[in-house]
């Protein structure tokens, strides 16, 4: 009996050892451990064993079974590992073959620049609002301290529809509309299309975009204006950006300023983008003129505020190094795909 068991075990272990495929292991399992397997038949022949010997033989059978099962499992694992390794070897690919992209479209460079500006000001608590593009003379000029006959009207070549309606030449009318309809505190930016009678060339377009900003509250100071725009410039052009405020004149702000930023291409050393000066003019701003506040129904003795206007194309052209404004309105897909 014992010899028979030893023989079966040795035979089984040898067959397992010699196996080179997972399916063969299963055959072996069936051949030895299955219902009709050899080890099972030894158990079935227990009736021929003396009763006092039976526990001992039973234990031997179990030991043989355990050894065979352990060997089966060990071999199964190593065969499986080898099979996986071979599979992976077969599946090696050339990772430098072209990518399969889903062809996503691209935003217009103007829109990307605007997104950035909006993100910055929304973060500072500004709401983004809009105003009409075909506008009353009253909002585009009169309520901004530019009465009929004012020389500033000549500086902006305006498209007129009739005596009282025009294509807005600036986003500033949104200032007046906002002040008329809202109560302070007001913090808004108003992006949009504006129109001026300029012939199309590399640096001019009769239709372009501005972003107007307006803050009205108690105790708003020129220093707040400076701080706000300095933050804006750093966010937009980089942490190292410096800002220079130069006195200027706009009819609807007083004091007024033009703002230069240190050239973000050369850091202020002078290059072709800043025409060697190290500075780039990016916007006009100032404290809202008390007369404008008054005309728009806000008490200038109680409230002060500041306003600014940025040319969107100017930022887009500078930031993305676009050398011809006409590209922005051609919509050549090879241009748009670069953004």
């Amino acid at each position: 009996m014992r010899e028979q068991l030893e023989k079966i075990k040795a035979e089984a272990l040898a067959r397992i050892e010699a196996s080179d495929a997972l399916e063969k292991l299963n055959d072996i399992r069936v051949a030895y451990l299955g219902k009709k397997g050899e080890l099972t038949s030894v158990l079935k022949s227990m009736k021929n064993v003396a009763p006092e010997e039976r526990p001992k033989v039973g234990q031997m059978v179990n030991e043989a079974r355990e050894q065979i099962e352990a060997k089966l499992e060990e071999t199964r694992q190593s065969l499986a590992r080898r099979a996986r390794e071979e599979q992976m070897k077969r599946e090696v690919i050339d990772v430098t073959l072209p990518a399969k992209k889903s062809h996503k479209g691209h935003s217009h460079p103007n829109a990307i620049a605007l997104d950035e500006v909006e993100r910055i000001f929304i973060g500072m608590g500004y709401e983004v609002v809009e105003g009409p593009e075909v506008e009353y003379d009253e909002y585009n000029f009169e309520k901004l301290n530019i009465p009929k006959g004012h020389p500033a009207r000549d500086e902006q070549d305006t498209f007129y529809i009739n005596d009282s309606i025009l294509l807005r030449s600036q986003t500033s009318p949104v200032q007046a509309r906002t002040m008329e309809t809202r109560k302070p505190p007001i913090r808004i930016i108003a992006p949009g299309r504006v129109f001026r009678s300029d012939e199309v060339d590399a640096t001019h377009s009769p239709s372009f975009h501005q972003i107007e900003g307006l803050v009205i509250d108690k105790n708003i100071t020129f220093a707040d204006l400076k701080g706000t725009l300095a933050e804006f410039a750093k966010e937009l052009f980089g942490e190292e950006t410096r800002v220079k405020f130069r006195p200027h004149h706009f009819p609807f702000t007083e004091p007024s300023a033009e703002v230069d930023v240190s050239c973000f291409k050369c850091g202020g050393k002078g290059c072709r983008f800043c025409k060697g000066s190290g500075w780039i003019e990016i916007l006009g701003c100032g404290m809202v003129h008390p007369h404008v506040l008054e005309m728009c129904g806000i008490d200038p003795n109680e409230y002060t505020g500041f306003a600014f206007g940025v040319g969107l194309e100017r930022i887009a052209l500078l930031k993305y190094e676009i050398d011809d404004m006409r590209l922005l309105y051609e919509n050549d897909i090879r241009f748009l795909k670069q953004f």
């Binding site: 608590g125 500086e155 529809i161 009678s197 400076k226 919509n331 090879r334």
Partner: protein, 806 residues
């Protein structure tokens, strides 16, 4: 405005700065310097020499050999110049020196021309005698220069001296950008005042002395101002025994640096005053003034007038004119008349120095189409108090230059005196506005430097009449800020009640439109809002189409930009055409932009501006691709119901069999389709193109960003496939409507999985197959429930003439 630094320094003598320092500091106090140009650029080693002897060149007929005394030594120079003679004093550039240009006066080379000694036809030449062109200028600015040849210096010039200095070229010309509120700074005196304040130096304006003989101008001339609104002040003085001559070098040099050509002493004096004071003047020939009288009044409609440039101008009753006793002799503030201009024979003349209404001059100049230096100054609105001093200054110069005999007295018609403006001095409010903590004394110190005084008794700042821009506290605050320094004001952020940063709801929906379009492969386009009225024909719009009623621009840049668009497609099709023409493949573009629909014409109120979401594409994809983009967008903005598509959208510019109106929840929100082949031809797009337009104002009320979880089904679904034979004229949309209606609550989804027309199907029919998914929320469906629903659906379909396929 261009001015030589030397002229500024004449009134701010202590100014000692580099050009760059001047530029930076002036710009920071508000007088923006646009740039500067050194007049002595590339002029090196140029001295005054005297020609001591001239001999013929032995080997060249056209050359001469000169011995030139340059003070330290005698040098030999060979020249081909025809105009020199022994004893002439000339500018000589020495070996290793540099001149600005060639003798022919072409464009100046960037680094000038280096001069070296050498041999000309075998004879040593140690330098070069210079023409005015070689010195970087020309005869218009140096009228005494010969037409060709060497510039000859005055006889009394010191030999060996710096010739560049002698020529007045050791100077720098600054170009200023003056803002429209600072009328006073369109003058040398105004800029000099700012410069003195900027650098903390003393300001010494010209001292105007009394002039004139013992006579009285009133005995010669009578002046009547009929329109005192348009002519606020009229000052007249007289000069007789005029001796016309070139003006002196110093005056010529200052004018030339300002870009004004020297003519003769009288003309130069009027131009000099215009630059110095910013006050235009005019000189009439006294003997040509009929009745020795001047009357200021408006022209009559239909009048014509010949200005001194020889042109005949048409006038109307708004144009202010200067008349003599019989006729018009000048257009006020713009240009004098041919009939009274100063000629070489002039004996006596009248200086006019007046203040005309700026707006009127601007409008008249526009109307007549004649903008002059004078009108340019007037239209800013001049200070009447300048005229008085300016005309006296002119007479002072006449006497100084010996240009004539000034008649005593002045005629000064000045009925309404300009008054100084007064503003309450409120230092606390100024500090509160600026965010500064300046003392009242500091502020007053800044103000005093620019001529604003303090009336302590009244507590008011007094602004002189030449500062017509100072009206309120904020104006005074700006003056304080300028001289304290914008750069010294701190940087803080607004405090106070917090506000919420956000996009408006409309902008949020537009943002989703952009996201979806780009996700689907469309890139963002931007096109103009104005276009040609011809667009409607290009788009095949019927003659009576309401979209042909447009907002028209009264002063467009040409017909192509003359109407505000009522349809957003032209820009899109033009952009597709541009891409097609450039052979770009598979182009997908979108735009978010307004159309402008007039509410009534002529326009009395603002038009309806409607934001349009426009998509256009050619290349890969078809009608259904475009439809997919729309539905992708609807889902993104919370429009989860089934949109409805109505064929025959009546869009003339779309293919009649491939267009659909899109509606949602009963509201029409847009359309899509294949572009009509005729339109494609017109736009030169050689392939099928598809467009879609969504009207955002109609769509936005149907959108929502609210999302609600409805649970994930826990009970199994049952799927049944339906294969049908359908009369060809029935749209699958109608089948889906029926399935949806009959399927009721249990219907979860119905998906078209096959559609076929052809061989196996009888003529007039098509085969359509749907997969229908049914599910109950609260139990597992039983077979009989499924059968009941499917029967309802089948019965419905049968009613439409649809049969199940065998």
């Amino acid at each position: 405005m261009n001015t030589a630094l030397s002229w500024i320094k004449a009134y701010v003598p202590d100014l000692d700065i580099t050009a760059q320092e001047y530029t930076d500091a002036m710009t920071l106090t508000g007088t923006k310097v646009e740039g500067f140009e050194r007049l002595d650029k590339n002029l090196e080693k140029i001295v005054v020499g005297q020609i001591m002897s001239i001999e013929k060149h032995p080997d060249a007929d056209k050359l001469i050999v000169c011995q030139v005394n340059i003070g330290t030594e005698m040098i030999q120079i060979v020249t081909g110049a025809p105009n020199v003679k022994v004893g002439d004093k000339v500018p000589v550039v020495l070996d290793g020196g540099r001149v600005a240009g060639g003798h022919d006066g072409g464009p100046l080379p960037e680094n000038g021309i280096l001069i070296k000694k050498g041999k000309l036809r075998g004879i040593e030449s140690a330098g070069m005698m210079c023409s005015i062109e070689e010195l970087g200028s020309d005869r218009s600015m140096y009228p005494d220069a010969p037409e060709s040849g060497i510039y000859l210096l005055p006889e009394d010039t010191e030999i060996g001296a710096d010739a560049v200095a002698v020529l007045g070229m050791r100077d720098t010309v600054f170009e200023y950008e003056i803002t429209s509120n600072r009328v006073d700074c369109y003058s040398v005196i105004g800029i000099a005042r700012e410069a003195a304040a900027t650098f903390g130096k003393e300001f010494k304006p010209p001292v105007v002395t009394e002039t004139g003989n013992g006579e009285d101008i009133r005995d010669y001339l009578k002046v009547t101002v009929e329109d005192t609104k348009l002519c606020k002040r009229y000052c007249a003085r007289m000069v007789k025994n005029i001796r016309l001559a070139p003006s002196p070098q110093w005056m010529q040099r200052r004018l030339a640096a300002s870009g004004i050509r020297p003519i003769n002493n009288i003309v130069d004096i009027t131009n000099y005053i215009m630059e110095e004071y910013g006050q235009p003047m005019h000189a009439f020939d006294y003997d040509l003034l009929a009745g020795h009288e001047i009357i200021v009044k408006c022209a009559k409609d239909g009048d014509t007038f010949q200005t001194l440039d020889g042109q005949v101008r048409e006038l109307d009753h708004t144009v202010l004119m200067i008349n003599d006793g019989e006729k018009e002799v000048g257009i006020a503030g713009i240009m004098g008349g041919e009939n009274s201009k100063i000629t070489d024979d002039v004996k006596s003349m009248v200086f006019e120095c007046a203040t005309f209404d700026g707006t009127n001059i601007r409008l008249s100049a526009k109307k007549i189409g004649l903008r002059t230096d004078a009108s340019g100054k007037y239209e800013k609105g001049l200070d009447p108090n300048t005229a008085f001093e300016a005309v006296n200054r002119a007479c002072q110069l006449v006497e100084e230059l010996g240009a004539g005999e000034v008649v005593g007295g002045m005629i000064d018609v000045y009925p309404v005196k300009a008054v100084e403006s007064r503003v309450r001095f409120e230092p606390e409010r100024i500090n509160a506005l600026l965010g500064t903590e300046l003392s009242a004394d500091t502020m007053l110190g800044y103000l005093k430097k620019i001529g604003l005084s303090y009336d302590e008794a009244a507590g008011e700042i007094v602004a002189p009449t030449w500062r017509q821009d100072i009206h309120c506290m904020a104006d005074v605050a700006e003056e304080v800020a300028r001289f304290y320094g914008y750069d010294k004001i701190g940087t803080t952020l607004p405090t106070g009640e917090a506000t919420t940063g956000k996009l408006s709801y409309k902008l949020r929906v537009e943002e989703k439109a952009r996201e979806t379009a780009e996700f689907c492969g469309f890139s963002q386009a931007m096109t103009y809002s104005f276009e040609s009225p011809k667009v409607f024909d290009r788009l095949l719009l019927p003659a009576d189409d309401v979209l042909r009623k447009t907002v028209e621009i009264s002063n467009p840049l040409g017909e192509d930009f003359s109407i505000m668009r009522t349809l957003p497609l032209n820009g899109m099709l033009m952009s597709l055409a541009t891409n097609y023409n450039r052979r770009n493949k598979d182009v997908r573009l979108y735009e978010l932009a307004n159309v402008y629909l007039p509410k009534s014409l002529p326009l009395t109120e603002l038009p309806d501006e409607r934001m349009q979401f426009v998509l256009g594409m050619y290349g890969e994809g078809d009608f259904y691709t475009m439809k997919g983009v729309l539905e992708e967008f609807f889902e993104t903005v919370g429009m989860k119901k089934r949109p409805h598509y109505e064929p025959e959208a009546k869009k003339a510019f779309l293919h009649p069999g491939r267009q659909a109106l899109v509606s949602y929840d009963g509201a029409e929100i847009g359309y899509l389709g294949e572009v009509h082949p005729d339109v494609l031809d017109t736009y030169k797009i050689g392939t099928k193109a598809y467009v879609a337009v969504l009207d955002m104002p109609a769509l936005i009320p149907l959108t929502t960003f609210d999302r609600k979880y409805t649970g994930i089904a826990r009970y199994p679904a049952v799927t049944r496939d339906l294969s049908m034979v359908v009369p060809k004229n029935i749209l699958v949309g109608q089948i889906e409507d029926m399935i949806a209606q009959r399927g009721g609550k249990l219907l979860e989804e119905c998906t078209l999985f096959d559609i076929y027309e052809g061989a196996q199907i009888m003529a007039g029919y098509k085969s359509v197959a749907y997969s229908i998914t049914l599910r109950a929320k609260d139990h597992t469906l039983e077979e009989k429930e499924v059968a009941a629903v499917m029967n309802k659906i089948l019965n419905g379909l049968k009613g439409m003439g649809i049969e199940l396929r065998g």
